[in-house]
Symmetry: C2
DNA sequence: CTGGATCCTCAACGATACTG
DNA sequence: CAGTATCGTTGAGGATCCAG
């Protein structure tokens, strides 16, 4: 509510006042994946104090970035991005991409959340198209997170939960990041056991090649 | 030094740990415009506590985003972006663009800084090219800030200080933002006195059309 | 059970002064 | 010029409690 101001008539300063608060970027990442309830957010953001979350949501609502909505079928509130909030996607993607370029392996205690995996896979899928003849369903396990990747009609769709009928089930650890970054090629990943496959293993190449983020060459030492 | 962690193996979380601290984005914006000395940063960031600045610079250095360097000719330190820091530009631009879309007029006490104007004009110039036959020099005054815009060899260059031999001197207030956003067209700006021109006034059209940022349609109420 | 509000503690931030 | 030292204030973190 009492957002700090920088006193500059500057786009970046205005943006920083809104998204530069602690936890705010991660809240927006979760909402960018899909609208969520308060308790979904709490679950997806391990460690966030509930008062901080409540305060951020109120600030974001005031800023016109997030809105509360009552879902038709259910009787619970959801939070979702407004159109103005949707416009943040390019910035969120750019920041996430940059941050991912500085990652190597997880630090002590770092976990993988469903929203972070979906966000990463969606950025990796980008707007790139795949041959429209492809009709392939993947289920991807990373740590205890389960998501699906569907390639069909020339597009890639990434969502929560397993694929209804997966052609290939991929189980991997944090090294999935290296595969997306193109630093670990599909064949090596299989040989070293970085991924386990169940189903049509030949489809893994397709997965690795279609989901690829631009490589960041300048990676500093990482704790 | 004691940067807070989010405990997630996620690119956006890592980025937020580095650039999500108060003042950090503005420090990076200033350094993205050009390498600067400590005192330049203090001057360009009105209100920043000096200990906060010192702490941020140390953090950014540790993160591999900024480095201290001794300039050859002079005997003073400068801070500059590392290659890893340069990679932040797309994210800074995207955030700044988003923030600029939410601005209308300055709030009480908001000032315009040289770095913010240069950054805005450079983003507006983008990678867009101009006819290589153009060889035009503009000096732009906004509040007490003075910058130059040079169009030649098909490119646009924006820098600090006046142009050596300006074909047109443009004096404007914060409404320059509306011109860049395409919400105020050149002719109207002249007629309403939003800009004052000195020199070849016909070149103002060229300025307004070459420096244009994508319009953000979803602008909330602005204080 | 969801969706918060309250209270307390402490680390970070902010303002000012001061120093190599 | 380039910071550090000191100190007061604010916001984050953590636990608990409350209302619909």
């Amino acid at each position: 509510m009492t957002n700090q101001h920088y006193g500059q008539f500057c786009g970046l300063a205005r943006a920083a006042e809104i998204v530069g608060q602690r936890w705010t970027l991660l809240i927006l990442r979760d909402l960018a994946v899909s609208p969520r309830r308060y308790s979904d957010l709490v679950a997806g953001l391990p460690g966030i104090p509930t008062n901080t979350l409540a305060s951020r949501l109120k600030d974001l609502e005031e800023a016109g970035v997030v809105r509360r909505a009552v879902t038709a079928g259910e009787r619970s509130l959801i939070y979702e991005l407004t159109p103005r909030g949707e416009e943040l996607r390019p910035a969120l993607d750019a920041l996430g991409l940059w941050g991912a370029g500085g990652m190597r392996s997880p630090r002590d205690g770092e976990v993988v959340t469903t929203a972070s995996i979906i966000a990463a896979l969606r950025v990796a899928a980008g707007s790139g198209t795949v041959p429209s003849s492809w009709n392939t369903a993947f289920t991807v396990h990373v740590a205890d997170v389960e998501v699906h990747v569907l390639m069909r009609d020339g597009t890639i769709e990434v969502g929560e939960g397993p694929a209804a009928a997966a052609d290939l089930v991929i189980t991997a650890g944090p090294q999935i990041r290296d595969i997306l970054a193109g630093e670990l090629d599909a064949q090596t990943a299989i040989e070293t056991g970085a991924v386990q496959l169940e189903g049509d293993a030949s489809l893994f190449e397709r997965f690795a090649e279609s989901l690829r983020v631009p490589y960041s060459p300048h990676v500093p030492a990482d704790a």
